[in-house]
């Protein structure tokens, strides 16, 4: 590393892009534009005039002003006067942005705070400036500590600081991640299957994401982003048990020729995954609305509308090595574990909330044929003639999800 001379005078890394004269002209011109937008905006806000053209002019003036002032600031970032002017410009731009552009206003507050802090620091002698910067570093990493010690079993102090002090800052700069990658343990991926029911009785299946069809760039980002969308629904709420009514209704649904069995290898309580309210009422309906709004998901006959959309949330199991050794494949039907998440209309309103299978696993399984005495070491791969294949999704939805 470098030598220890901490007192060496610091030389600016690169020469300014503009001469000093032009820098000040740009800064003052920028601030003036922002000020005009702010004054005009204040008058418009007071008179409650809602003129689109005025908002556009305000916006353009503000953005142009911020660019000019920002560019000037970048030419002399160590000058406290320039930083002070920057802070004033950011503050004025809060009022200059039209009310509907609350994002811009939020950015203006952030800019004001940053520029003010920088201005104060640059006014201080070097020793105190370093002291101030040190405090900021500690405060910043204090925020990171509160982020990485949550979520879940978070220490009380960390939770207090995170929620009450750091939350706005960390959210704003998107440093909220706890970095708990693949922990506590790596789990299976989750997919979404949408069954679109049209008014005329036709159906169409949309599966998200599809590998490799959804990989549209060399690194597969388009695919992983879609996978991330479906993973959002994985935030299951902890349940202490299946409510009696739900269990009774589920058991009744096993009966009959079109009955849907429970998965033989999973405890019934683990086959029930109710969604938290936020997911049930917001996220999932939002997804459904998107599916319903897409042109490619409409019926070939434009007069036939979408009647409803059924959603299955599918866990794609990771094969155990023993299954792999027994001949199973990573993409066999039984590796998919669909949970029924309800049926919605095209506006995302939930319908048929009393479906006994709501939030239950709708298993795709092989069962030994009832009339055969199947030894336990036989499986459907080695002795397919001894097993019946039951795709409960087909039974439940009334449509073949594998049909092209």
């Amino acid at each position: 590393m470098n030598g220890p001379q901490s007192t060496t005078p610091v030389v600016d890394e690169s020469p300014p892009l503009l001469g000093a004269n032009w820098v000040w002209k740009a800064a003052i011109g920028g601030i003036a534009a922002i000020a005009i937008a702010a004054v005009g905006g204040a008058i418009a806000d007071m008179s409650k005039a809602n003129v689109f053209a005025l908002d556009v002019v305000r916006l353009l003036l503000t953005v142009a002003g911020i660019f000019a002032a920002g560019f000037a600031l970048s030419c002399s970032p160590r000058d406290p006067r320039m930083l002070g002017l920057g802070a004033a410009g950011c503050f004025a731009s809060f009022f200059a942005f039209p009310q509907a552009w609350d994002s811009g206003r939020m950015l203006a507050i952030f800019g004001t705070v940053i520029a003010t802090i920088c201005c104060v620091l640059m006014c201080l002698p070097q020793k105190w400036r370093r002291f101030g910067v040190s405090l900021l570093v500690l405060a910043h990493f204090g925020g990171i500590v509160t982020a990485v010690t949550g979520p879940g079993a978070q220490p009380w102090l960390s939770a207090q600081f995170h929620q009450r002090v750091y939350r706005p800052y960390l959210q704003f700069v998107y440093l909220t991640n706890a970095y708990h990658f693949y922990s506590p343990e790596p789990g299976p991926a989750h997919l979404m299957w949408f069954c679109i029911y049209y008014e005329n009785g036709n159906t169409r299946w949309i599966k998200l994401p599809r590998r490799p069809n959804d990989i549209t760039d060399p690194m597969g980002l388009s695919y992983y982003r879609r996978l991330s969308l479906s993973e959002q629904l994985h935030a299951m709420q902890p349940i202490r048990g299946v409510p009696d009514d739900a269990m009774r209704a589920r058991l009744l649904r096993i009966q009959g020729t079109n009955g849907i069995p429970l998965h033989p290898e999973i405890a019934p309580v683990d086959q029930f995954r109710p969604l938290p309210d936020t997911h049930r009422y917001f996220l999932l309906p939002g997804y459904v609305r998107h599916v319903a709004s897409q042109k490619e998901n409409q019926h070939d006959d434009p007069t036939i509308a979408i009647k409803s959309i059924g959603v299955y949330y599918v866990e794609h199991r990771i094969l155990n090595p023993e299954h792999l050794q027994a001949g199973a494949d990573f993409y066999d039907d039984i590796t998919y574990m669909p949970y029924y998440f309800g049926r919605f209309d095209a506006k995302g309103q939930e319908i048929d909330v009393n479906d006994p299978l709501l939030y239950w696993l709708v298993p795709i399984v092989y069962f030994p044929k009832p009339d055969r005495d199947v030894p336990p070491y036989h499986n459907w791969k080695t002795h397919p003639d001894e097993f019946n294949f039951i795709d409960s999704v087909v039974r439940h939805s009334g449509s073949d999800h594998k049909a092209k």
Partner: protein, 582 residues
């Protein structure tokens, strides 16, 4: 004997701190990090182009309505400050119709707390916390107002009709004058209420029951829904009571809310219930509402305008990667990237987190000082001016200084340290959090990462064949999985401590690069791995970067002094640079 003056503890700490953070450093490493970050950031956002509407459009997967709702209204609960704080938020009905009926009834309740309590006296006094009897008491109230349609054994809320006044009076009389026939008595009046009769409370029970029943809406379906909801709540015990004063059942929690928290003023009540309807919480008890997310995509939704802005952003990102107007474009790149991040957080994963960290610190650094068009243009200009100055006999020092290596700066070292410390946090958190999982202790976690059919290259037959062969021999499989688990844990937990040992640093950096290459190949998270490698690069000393670049240049037949200004010529070191032995 002469004594050596020694500094105090705090002086030494202060000096070490000062040296660690504020010692000037060369920007070579950061400039190289900018090049890599710029390229990856550009790629990442270019990949959005096809999906711009799908992810960020008005009707995207997370449509504008939902995104605005979340950023403006999302509830932020305050963390508990004392030891025992009762949770007074009531649980709202799950079913939307039932919720609407229940809230409508709540809206109609009297503004005065005393009157309200009087109407609901039956619920406060005569519904026991016992899960079965409570529901029976509410069933009695239901029978006072409605009855199932003829022939309906277990009716739904649609299958009720109003009870006649005679039927109601008959039932009310039964409360005060219990039927003599035991079977009829048990069928008509819940057992716990029969006990109340013996204790002499029957007239009060009758009056309270009648008052409460008559407060219910004049709609048989709504009555069935409200009573059904309350009966359900009476069967749900509150899981964690911290004191005997806290409600025992969900119904008691609801009653506490109605008594203490239901606003008297009608407009406020409607407002509070509206938020309950949407988020299931009392907005007055929140720490805050909404999230501090901002994005241009919240405001610009016209597809054409979106594409124009998207390509402008891509242009800025390309300029940043090339090092053009770096001070400005570094900030703009970060702001642009956050526009995508804040608009639809649902499409993000670890890669975006790392991208943000790469960008956020680069803004503070002289990352355009080298390997950039900024450097190229300033050197070209300085050369021209130097020639001119030499010809005219002017002072050439300012131009020589520009041509020299960018002087070591405090900000370069400072930002490198920020990266290094942040990286330690990332690894430490990732490593320690894994220790909570059984799969990392029994060494099966590795299989979960390399055999995940949606992430790993299991779509390729040769890869599947390798995994199958591995699974065929248990000891080989166990050896491989143990290796993955132990290696991951050792690296993630060990690196934050060992990386500060100069001798171990190269080894750890190389190991880290291999680790992230593995993640990229076997877990499919290629761009995530690349960003992690960029962060790891912050541990590479600037001298090493300089040497690598020089070696690379010589491979192309260019001497270090002939680089078109992309990197400074060695022979023109600045005075400060020489002093610092850079």
């Amino acid at each position: 004997m002469a004594t050596v003056p020694s500094d105090g503890f705090f002086s030494r700490v202060g000096r070490s701190w000062n040296d660690f953070w504020f010692k000037p450093g060369s920007p070579h490493t950061l400039c190289m990090m900018r090049v890599f970050t710029g390229i990856f950031v550009f790629y990442l956002h270019f990949a959005y182009t096809r999906d711009l509407q799908t992810f960020f459009g008005k009707h995207g997967w997370v449509d504008l309505e939902l995104a605005n709702d979340v950023r403006n209204e999302y509830p932020v609960m305050p963390p508990q400050t004392g030891w025992a704080e009762p949770e007074t938020n009531m649980r709202v009905p799950y079913d939307r119709d039932v919720r609407a009926a229940f809230f409508e009834w709540l809206t109609q309740l009297p503004a005065d707390r005393g009157q309200r309590k009087q109407i609901l006296n039956f619920l406060y006094l005569w519904i026991p916390a016992d899960t079965v009897e409570g529901a029976n008491g509410l069933a009695l109230i239901q029978r006072l107002r409605i009855k199932p349609l003829e022939g309906r054994g277990r009716p739904t809320s649609d299958e009720f009709e109003f009870a006649t006044p005679d039927e109601r009076n008959q039932l009310l009389n039964a409360i005060t004058n219990l039927p003599s026939n035991a079977e009829e008595r048990d069928k008509t009046i819940p057992k716990y209420m029969q006990q109340l009769h013996k204790d002499g409370y029957a007239p009060r029970v009758r009056a309270d029951a009648e008052r409460f029943a008559m407060s219910l809406p004049n709609d048989s379906k709504k009555i069935a829904q409200i009573i059904g909801h309350m009966a359900y709540q009476s069967t749900i015990p509150v899981p964690q009571r911290k004191s005997h004063r806290e409600p025992r059942t969900e119904l008691e929690r609801t009653l506490t809310f109605i008594d203490e928290d239901l606003p008297a003023e009608r407009a406020e009540r409607v407002q509070v219930l509206k938020y309950f309807d949407r988020w299931g919480l009392d907005e007055r008890k929140l720490l805050a509402k909404g999230q501090n997310g901002w994005s241009i995509w919240f405001h610009v939704t016209n597809p054409t305008a979106m594409y124009v802005i998207h390509f402008l952003f891509l242009g800025v990102m390309a300029m940043f990667a090339l090092g053009l107007f770096t001070r400005v474009t570094s900030v703009l790149t970060w702001l642009a990237a956050l526009c995508y991040v804040h608009r639809t957080t649902q499409v993000l994963f670890g890669m975006d987190v790392m991208m943000n960290i790469c960008l956020i610190y680069l803004m503070l650094s002289p990352c355009g000082a080298l390997y950039s068009l900024d450097r190229f243009f300033s050197v070209r200009k300085a050369r021209r001016q130097l020639e001119e100055a030499k010809r005219t006999g002017q002072d050439t020092t300012p131009f020589e200084r520009v041509l020299a290596a960018p002087a070591p700066s405090v900000s370069a070292n400072f930002v490198s340290r920020l990266y290094q410390i942040h990286f330690c946090f990332i690894y430490m958190a990732a490593g320690l959090s894994k220790l909570k999982g059984n799969a990392w202790w029994n060494h099966t976690a590795g299989w979960g990462t390399i055999a995940n059919p949606e992430f790993s290259p299991t779509i390729f037959a040769p890869y599947r064949w390798v995994l199958t062969e591995l699974a065929d021999t248990r000891w080989l499989w166990e050896l491989g999985m143990s290796g993955i688990a132990v290696f991951t844990l050792l690296l993630e937990i060990g690196l934050p401590f060992l990386i500060w040992r100069p001798r171990l640093r190269p080894l750890l950096v190389i190991t880290g690069v291999l680790f992230h290459m593995g993640i990229g190949i076997f877990m499919g998270l290629t761009v995530f791995g690349l960003f992690m490698m960029v962060l790891l690069f912050s541990y590479v000393p600037p001298e090493a970067v300089r040497k690598w670049i020089d070696s690379g240049m010589s491979l192309f037949g260019k001497s270090p002094s002939d680089k078109n200004g992309l990197s400074p010529p060695e022979h023109v070191l600045s005075t400060e640079g020489q002093k610092l032995n850079v």
